[in-house]
Structure formats: C-alpha cells, structure tokens
Symmetry: C2
Subunit: 356 residues, 2 copies
C-alpha cells in the first residue's frame, strides 16, 4: 500500500489545485478553455489571437488574479528587466541623487533598479556585482569604489554584460563613462577666486592615484592661463581625500613660502577639514582665507561658514548613465562613450575678496 504513495501525492496535488500559490498560465488556459500557448500569446499582446479569444482569456486572468511570473519567462528567453546599481552608500545624498536619476530613466523603459551597496570596499563591491549577476540583471551601473582598477572591473564582468561606469573615472576601462566635468568645475572654482582678487591659490587634497586628480588640476591651471596668470605647481598640496587630510594640507599651506590666500579643494570633505583648521588657527574663513570645495554635498550648506562649492548635477548624471545603459542593453549605439555633466558654482560664505 505504501507504494501508492506517489500516486497519492499527485492526486492530492490535483485535488487542492487552486488553493496555494499563484495561478499559472496553465490554470488560465484550463478555465478559459484554450491552450497555454494561446494564453502566452495573449500575455504578449500578439496579434495572432482572435479578438474574442483574447477577451475571454483576459477576463479569466482578471478573475483568477493571475500574476505574470517573470522569472519563469526569463528562464526561457534570455532577457531580464532588472538593472543593477552598485554604489557606495545610499544615505550619501550624492549617491541617492544618482540612484534617483537612474530610477527615473529606467522606469521609462519598464525596468526596475536593484540596489547593491559596495560601501567603498572593492571586496564588497565584487560580491555585490556577483549577487546582481546571479539575479540575471540586464546590465549594471557601477560607481566604482576607490581602488577599483580596470583589472578589478574586467575580473568581475563577463564579456557580454552591459556596464556603465559613473562618477569616478577608471583608466583604460572599456565601458562608457558618465561623470562630472572636473576641468570645467575647477575652472569655475578657481576663476571665482581670481575674480575676487586672489593671486596665490593653492590646490588642496587628493593625489595622482585618483584618476580625477589630473583633470581637476588641469582646471585649476587653465583658470590661471585664461587670464594670463601662471599657476604655481608648488601650491599643489597632496593629502588624503578626507577631513583629516584637508586639515593637514591646510597646515602645510599656511606655512608655505608662497603664502596662498585661497584654495580650491579636491572635494568638499577636504575643504571642510581645511576650513576647520583655519578656524582653529584663529583665521576667519571667507575673510582671511577663501576656500572652495567640490561636489556640493548636503553638509556643505550646514557647515560653518557655509561652503562655497561646485555642484555637479548628480541627478542628471544618473539619468545619462541609465540612458547609456539602456542603449547598451538594446545593442544600440551609445550616445557618447564619455559624458561630462555640467558643473555649477555655488557661492556661499567661505570665499571673499582678497585682502592682501
């Protein structure tokens, strides 16, 4: 008797056909009195099915509360409508703006973004990418963690997977890139200081291990050239791209033989650190020494004094990144391999006229 076990299971399964789990295409077919193939055609909006049939099927679908199973479909046809986003930290407004831009464009193509947090750590980043791949995302927008090299990247991605790199240049990387226009941003920042009468303007923070550094320094140089001045390379002071680094760099700047009266900084965090050191040294930021940051992070406005900085149009860059990803996924030509977002100088109170 125990042998009938299997048959029994089947029987029971048949008995309790409708109760658990979602209805399938086959349930629909049975109720509508057509074949599963027909239901599938209706689902795909094919013009092959007769109007009447389509309507019958659609009614049954409605009635049974059927929900399409995309995983199952994805198993058969290769395409997926997930797009992965790998970023440092969602709660950083810089990244969430980016994500929002991506989401907006994706939604226009009925795609859904799947988020993965890399925490600025290459190892976590690799895991995140793997998880995304396991889920069969159609492509990935990657905002590389620091220390990511072209090699790391090529390691993580199989040949065919569409990828767009955002915000942070990786040298020799074969993927389209979307990021801020560093040159123009630093041109604006430095130009602003020059207009205020400053003639000895330091470049604080970062070092050449950052791919963006070259461009940023180039912007600083160009601003000088444009008005017939020449930037003094001795005023480039490297440091870690952190608050601490900013403070250290400023310390060096203050006792520098070239006596800078102002500085542009690698980013806002460096600027904030530098600003604090000035304050602690009894100098008034914006009066005794002018400082400009880069990124326009939320904190820049909170700071004391509110930081003059360069905003990089983060949301728009997210949109551009997503646009390119979709093009890649569809196999279309990509608008341009390198998109540089417009930058905008935001004048607050950390800059003022040169008093020397």
């Amino acid at each position: 008797m125990l042998k009938s076990n299997k048959t029994l299971r089947k029987l029971m399964a048949a008995k309790v056909s409708t109760p658990k789990s979602r209805a399938t295409i086959i349930d629909i077919a049975r109720v509508a009195g057509v074949s599963k193939s027909t239901v599938s055609l209706v689902l795909q909006g094919s013009s092959l099915v007769r109007k009447e049939t389509r309507e019958t099927v659609q009614n049954v679908i409605e009635q049974l509360g059927y929900v399409y199973n995309r995983s199952a479909a994805g198993l058969r046809q290769a395409k997926s409508d997930f797009a992965g986003i790998v970023i440092g930290d969602l709660s950083n407004p810089f990244f969430s703006e980016l994500a929002a831009g991506i989401e907006e464009v994706l939604a226009g193509y009925n795609m859904l973004p799947v988020l993965a947090n890399a925490n600025e750590d290459p190892v976590q980043q690799a895991n995140a990418i793997r998880a995304l791949r396991e889920h069969g995302v159609a492509g990935i927008v990657l905002s590389p963690a620091r220390g990511t090299t072209a090699w790391t990247i090529s390691e993580s991605f199989p040949k065919g997977l569409p990828v767009v790199v955002a915000m942070c240049v990786v040298d020799d990387c074969p993927f389209p890139y979307v990021g801020p226009d560093n040159i123009s941003g630093f041109l604006q920042a430095t130009g602003h200081l020059i207009e205020l009468g400053h003639r000895s303007i330091a470049f604080l923070g970062g070092d050449n291990s950052f791919a963006v550094q070259k461009e940023r320094i180039e912007g600083w140089r160009k601003a000088h050239r444009d008005v017939g001045l020449v930037a003094d390379d001795r005023l480039i002071i490297n440091s870690a791209p952190s608050r601490q680094g900013g403070a250290e760099a400023m310390e060096i700047a203050l006792s520098h033989p070239q006596k800078p009266t102002a500085a542009v900084c690698h980013n806002d965090v460096v600027a904030l650190g530098a600003s604090r050191l000035l304050h602690e040294s009894g100098l008034s930021v914006g009066r005794d020494f002018s400082i400009v940051g880069f990124d326009d992070i939320a904190e820049a406005a909170y700071a004391f004094p509110p930081l003059t900085t360069v905003s990089v149009g983060t949301r728009n860059m997210g949109m551009e990144a997503a646009k390119r990803l979709v093009q890649l996924i569809k196999g279309e030509a990509v608008d341009s391999r390198k998109f540089l977002g417009e930058t905008k100088l935001i004048v607050r109170q950390s800059t003022g006229p040169c008093k020397v």
Copy 2:
C-alpha cells in the same frame, strides 16, 4: 533536405556548446565528471557530498566562471531573496534615508532591495506593486502614497505576501507599521515654543484626510495640557501640505483674532512656505514669529533662516521596517505590530523667545 533542419540545429547547438551565454550546472557536471544533482548539492553546501568530490566540483566552478542562476532556482523552490521597496521619490532625502536603512538590514540577510517609484500617485503605486510581484519579491515595504486606503492596499496584495507599511499610517490596515512618533514629536515642538514663552501657538497645515494629522494635533494639545494650558482649537488652520499651502495658512494666521505668536507645522515644507510669507510680510522669522517644522528634510538647514524642526530618525525607521519584513518572510513573530521611531527636536534659528 530541408527536413533535416531540426537535426541540424541540434547539431550546431551541440557543436557550439560553450561559447555563448553562461555556463550551467550541467556544464559543470560534465567537466567534473559527476551528475548535475551532485553539483547542485555542492552549491547548497550539503554535507552529503564527499569532501574530495566537493573540491573537484568547486574547482571546475571556479575555472568555468560559473554564475548561479537564481531565477531558475526560484522557479523550483518558492523562495526569492528580493525585497521590494515602494516609495514616493528617491531624490527626496526623506525616502532615500529610509531606503538606505532598509538596504542595510536586508544586506545582512543576503537580500537585495528592488526599488519602485510610486510618485505619490496611487495608480503608479499599484503598478509598482504589480511589477514587484511579477518579479516574485519575497515581501514589500510600502510607504503609501497619499490617498491610499486599507481597501486600495488589500486590493494590491494577495493574502500571503509579507508587507510592512512605513511612514504613513493607513487606518484598519492589517500590516505591521513603522513610522515616526507623531505625538511625541509635536509634543517636543510645541513644548519648545511654550518654553520660549509663547502662549498662542497655531497648528498650521494638513487636514484630517491625513491619517497622521490626528496624532500630530494630539501632540500639540498634549504639550499645552502638560503645563496646564489649553490649546485653542481655533488656531488649527488646515491647508495643503505644500509650500503654497503653508503660505496660505500663515496668511490666515496673521489676521487671526487669536493673534498667534508662533506655529508648529504639519511638516517642513509647510513651515518653509509659512516662513517665506512672513519674510515677505516684513516680519523676521525667529524674532517676530517663531516656526517649527517636522521631518528635518535637508532643505530645512539651507533655508533662511535655518528651520527649527523635529527629526524623525528616518534611517532607523527603515531598518526597523526591514527587520519586520524579514521576520514576516521567515514566518517568525513580528517584534511589534506598530513601531514608533524616536523624534528629536533640532533647534535652529526659526524660533526665539516670545516678545509679546
């Protein structure tokens, strides 16, 4: 000859077995000289397979760069490790903080958040939920769009799907809820004004169509009661929860017979609108009239003058929501059906002592 078409296809498929698309469990099995079942067992870390075998298989996996196909697995076993997040707008820092909190907890369970934007529109919200369901998410955190009713919600969700409602109460809704402690928040806000000497404090913005309104007004009342005062209901001035609404409400307040000297507002946006109107009327916010907002959106700090407001610990609420969602998914008991986040008064410059 044309008839051999099918066979030909097969042949070709066999010929070019490895080139395109990802390797499968079967490819691994073939190379490792075991059955697909064994590979599957290895993948699941089963203790049934011999150590040697496991190692062989793992080597081959490594070697072929095999990537697990979760959709395929999901087809067979019912569970998914996607969790849906439905929110109004990612670029609103209020929501992105929430999402970040959710992401953090989810990551701890190796789950991935899938984002869907409802744009504060019930129709888009329903679509978003449907899309998420089609993708087989294991559960959803929903921050309901305005106008969402218990009925709308029950309409969108099948019986079994785990759902946690966040940030915005929906009456008679069977799902666990996580949101700010409105009563205590308004208690703090109003208490702050009372301490500053204000005795005629208006409640600006919102109306009873907002589920949260009752609680917020209750907080305002309680603050009065706690010090033996009695709130004057005539000072409740409804309006749309927008900048414009805030300005309108403030206009009414200014010509109000009860002459309020301060106001608590339904949220920060209302407060900002009210603040601007005061400014335009030549009154100094913080000196001539005090204003407190609610939410502590990023803009609150940028505003002129920086807005005194109540922060609701958004990120933490995201974490609590995710925690409950996971419990629901696992079929465990939920910590509590209703979690109220701690609120914190942030004093900036839109409030000051009563001068009357």
